[in-house]
């Protein structure tokens, strides 16, 4: 049972990394949002699996939250925003997709390298999960860095949160407080982001962060 469950856990974690790569690969808004939805689905699945093998029922809540909020609510909201802002066009990534992919692979390698010295004492399960979640986080960061568009940056940020959830649930027996806080923070984060996008929409024609920078005080 252990062996199998481990493999399945790996499967999910690895799947998550894969989806992160797909996120990087996307260059259209709507496609990006849909991919993110699937990202959330994978996360919720893996969380559910963890709940199952750890006999930790409270994890089901987390997975449910992830599924509902991030797989459905947020994508819909994002679609709305996109439509309203009229930016289904291309995302104009800063660097080409190819280089981004290569960088992503490098990051994954790095995260594995970092995890290697950790002794098995912490539990192989945790260790592998950590490696994967770390790479998901790094990929999310890479995404935020390599996109010009506010919405895609938000998506990158949320994929980071997914990575965190993966790590948190991988950590066996971690008290509930963390999940709550994660969900809570994401919720608040969404509210704030929504408010901001709304206000920004009021003032600018686009949410491209690049344009915001013109409005800084000290531009000579």
């Amino acid at each position: 049972m252990d062996r199998l469950s481990l493999d399945i856990a790996h499967l999910f974690a690895g799947g998550l990394v894969l989806v992160s790569f797909m996120l990087l690969y996307q260059d259209r808004m709507s496609g990006l949002v849909n991919t993110f939805a699937s990202h959330a689905v994978v996360v919720s699945l893996s969380v559910a699996w963890q709940a199952y093998i750890q006999q930790a029922p409270h994890l089901y809540i987390t997975s449910a939250i992830a599924l509902v909020v991030k797989a459905f609510v947020i994508p819909v909201a994002l679609h709305r925003i996109i439509v309203r802002l009229g930016i289904h066009g291309t995302i104009e990534p800063v660097v080409g997709i190819g280089q981004t992919m290569l960088a992503g692979i490098g990051l994954v390698a790095l995260s594995i390298l970092v995890m290697l010295p950790i002794t098995a004492q912490a539990g192989t399960l945790a260790r592998e999960d950590l490696a994967f979640s770390l790479s998901v986080i790094l990929l999310g960061l890479l995404m935020m860095v390599s996109r010009r568009n506010a919405v895609s940056q938000v998506i990158g940020f949320m994929s980071i949160e997914n990575g965190l959830i993966l790590a948190a649930t991988g950590a066996k027996g971690m008290p509930l407080v963390v999940e709550i806080s994660v969900a809570f923070s994401i919720l608040v984060a969404l509210i704030v982001i929504g408010i901001f996008l709304f206000r920004i929409r009021e003032r600018f024609d686009t949410v491209d962060v690049h344009d915001l920078d013109r409005y800084r005080g000290e531009r000579p």
Partner: protein, 482 residues
């Protein structure tokens, strides 16, 4: 005894929370301001009680030598700032920069921020602390954006993005710490409680700890404003309301630093883990160097002092990174004095900006002629922040530089030179601000100078004479940290 202590702890947390709720409902701005002051004073009072009695550490809350210093400091600065904010906000309402609706929001947020910071300081649970810091971040984001100008929104947005990323990194670090602890102290709350972690950190897996410290340092370091994670800080200070700038510089940075310190103690009590010192020293030195050069091209007065906050946070981090009883002592002292001085400076700056109607320094001249109190307050502030006697920061910088030079001459030289560079920039600006022929409006300022000179008085006293009790306290804490 201890129940009195737990009562005090409860008060520290509940008073801000309740008054936040109350203020959210209260329409009248005058009473709101007063209530704000009263609440902060109450909190301060109950914080002082903790000196006398303290409750036994629980699962979620703890009061120990380290955080009492921070709590008293933050509640004190919080109360003085609320006094200042009363007069500041009144003026903002007059000129109609703030709508009353936003005012209500502002006061509620202020108390929420107090609550969050006290919680972060008091929490005995790394997860809880993380939540508190997160809450503090969100509230400050709200307040930075409160003016709804393009620049303000942009600053808030930047602050929000960078802050959330930092918070995310911190969370990952927290999880790693839990993992490291779990295999030793077993699952559950114990594995996240300071009181337990510090004791048994020696047996943790060093590799995990190293990894976690990297993430925590970056995560909370973003809040501290260490270069290169500092980008949010100057704009957030410059665009938000001045009381918030004061609170940010005076308190929030300390709270984040406090978190870093907590984890540093865990790290340093584990022999196998890599010494956290070098990382902190290099980040701190980088911040000092960078910030002191950035001071030169500033035109916005609040942004300039924000950079000086970065510089001083760098100094403190540097000191704690150097470690050793002397350096730790100096670091604590420097942090305390810096939050006092910097908040006082921001009080002055707020009034100046209101009187002159601008934050653009070239348009502010000859203050000692037009507004002697404000002008000399400014001079005093720059003298203090530049670490010149008789103000207290001289003491801490003296200790830091001398104690470092005996151990790491090169580092001390770099530190000293960058301090000199910073001094040059500040003086250059001061010449323009305080001296020369006055320029701009000469309307008298209805400022409340009590908070300003209360802070300066304390800093001055610290420069002349440190009370032995305080010294013993700091030395004890310094011993704890090293």
């Amino acid at each position: 005894m201890s129940d009195a202590g737990s009562l005090a702890v409860g008060a520290i947390l509940l008073v801000p929370a309740l008054s936040a709720a109350l203020l959210a409902l209260l329409p009248d701005d005058r009473t709101a301001a007063r209530l704000n002051v009263v609440a902060t004073l109450l909190t301060l009072g109950s914080a002082v009680v903790l000196f006398a009695v303290r409750p036994a550490p629980g699962h979620f809350l703890i009061v120990d030598d380290l955080n009492v210093v921070f709590i008293v400091l933050s509640t004190f600065v919080g109360s003085t700032t609320s006094v200042f904010s009363a007069s500041y906000i009144a003026h903002e309402l007059e000129i109609g920069r703030l709508a009353p609706a936003y005012l209500r929001f502002y006061h509620a947020m202020y108390q929420t921020l107090m609550f969050a910071m006290n919680l972060a300081l008091l929490s005995n649970n790394i997860g809880l602390m993380w939540v508190a810091v997160e809450l503090a971040t969100l509230t400050t984001v709200m307040m930075v954006g409160i003016y709804r100008t393009a620049a303000a929104l942009e600053a808030a947005w930047k602050y929000f993005i960078l802050g959330s990323v930092g918070i995310a990194l911190a969370l990952f670090g927290t999880i790693l710490v839990y993992l490291a602890a779990r295999s030793v102290v077993g699952e559950g709350l114990d594995a996240m409680a300071w009181s337990v972690l510090v004791g048994s950190a020696a047996k943790f897996d060093p590799a995990l700890l190293n990894l976690s410290f990297v993430f925590l340092l970056l995560g909370y370091g973003t809040k501290v404003g260490l270069v290169p994670l500092h980008a949010w800080l100057p704009d957030a200070h410059a665009e938000g309301p001045t009381p918030i700038s004061a609170v940010l510089s005076g308190l929030l940075l300390n709270v984040a630093l406090f978190a870093v310190l907590r984890f540093k103690t865990i790290m340093s009590s584990n022999p196998g883990a890599l010494a956290p010192g070098p990382l902190m020293v290099s980040l701190g030195l980088l911040s000092v160097l960078f910030a002191s050069f950035m001071l030169y091209r500033r035109h916005d007065i609040k942004r300039m002092f924000a950079y000086s906050s970065i510089e001083h946070m760098g100094i403190v981090t540097f000191a704690f990174g150097m470690g050793g009883a002397l350096a730790n002592f100096a670091g604590l002292l420097h942090m305390t004095l810096h939050s006092l001085t910097k908040s006082a400076i921001f009080f002055c700056v707020g009034h100046i900006a209101q009187v002159k109607g601008t934050q653009h320094m070239p348009d502010i001249r000859g203050l000692t002629v037009s507004h002697p109190l404000l002008g000399w307050g400014m001079v005093l502030g720059v003298v203090a922040i530049a670490g010149l006697p008789p103000m207290g920061i001289f003491v801490s910088e003296f200790l830091i530089v001398t104690s470092t030079f005996a151990r790491q001459p090169a580092l001390a030289v770099v530190l000293g030179l960058s301090l000199l560079v910073a001094l040059g920039a500040l003086l250059l600006r001061l010449n323009g601000l305080a001296f020369g022929d006055p320029y701009g409006s000469n309307e008298p300022s209805k400022a409340s100078f009590v908070p300003v000179f209360a802070h300066f008085g304390l800093v001055f006293a610290a420069g002349i004479w440190l009370p032995p009790a305080l010294v013993a306290w700091f030395q004890h804490v310094a011993a704890l940290l090293s």
